[in-house]
Symmetry: C2
Subunit: 107 residues, 2 copies
């Protein structure tokens, strides 16, 4: 079972910032910004390329928008990053969206 699936099923701890039925927002354990949250799909999907669930895809950007507002990132600004495939820097093969704000580094 992948690291994100273990967090979702509760067998691995994480700092959960927000969740709904499709997405969970957790702190990145190696933060590259003052705030660095990962929006992780609750179902195991390898990457954006593999995502076929239309409801999940459709909810992505509005979820980013909502989580950014909930965490108070709008005033400082925030960067949204999705790495798809090893060649683009994807490390965990489970769909996740990076949200970074404040002293933003590279992901």
């Amino acid at each position: 079972m992948c690291i994100f699936c273990r967090i979702i099923d509760g067998s691995l701890g994480a700092t959960i910032r927000w969740q709904n039925e499709m997405w969970i927002a957790i702190d990145d354990i190696h933060p590259k910004a003052k705030t660095h949250v990962l929006l992780v799909s609750k179902t195991h999907i390898e990457s954006l390329e593999q995502a076929m669930d239309q409801a999940l895809l459709e909810s992505g950007l509005s979820t980013v928008q909502m989580v950014a507002r909930t965490l108070g990132l709008v005033e400082a600004g925030y960067k949204t990053v999705i790495n798809t495939g090893r060649g683009a820097g994807q490390i965990v093969d489970h769909l996740h969206i990076h949200l970074l704000s404040g002293n933003i580094g590279n992901v």
Copy 2:
């Protein structure tokens, strides 16, 4: 009128890679990767924070997926980036999504 609105209305040239009724994909004039395309909303919306059009938000990730496939970026992998606000590196105040593939630099 902003630079992206001028491209959309045809008064400014650009290399158009793909388009539908909501989004247009153009080459970034200062590419930070072998392929660096911007998915620009056809309506003038300042940023992801300002986006209220649910159909546009809902179409975002599936459009990224489709454009990446159309441009043949899947095998090499691709990075999707949205900068929201000056503090996150947004330069043009018109909603756009970066798609980068091959020798990816920072945006």
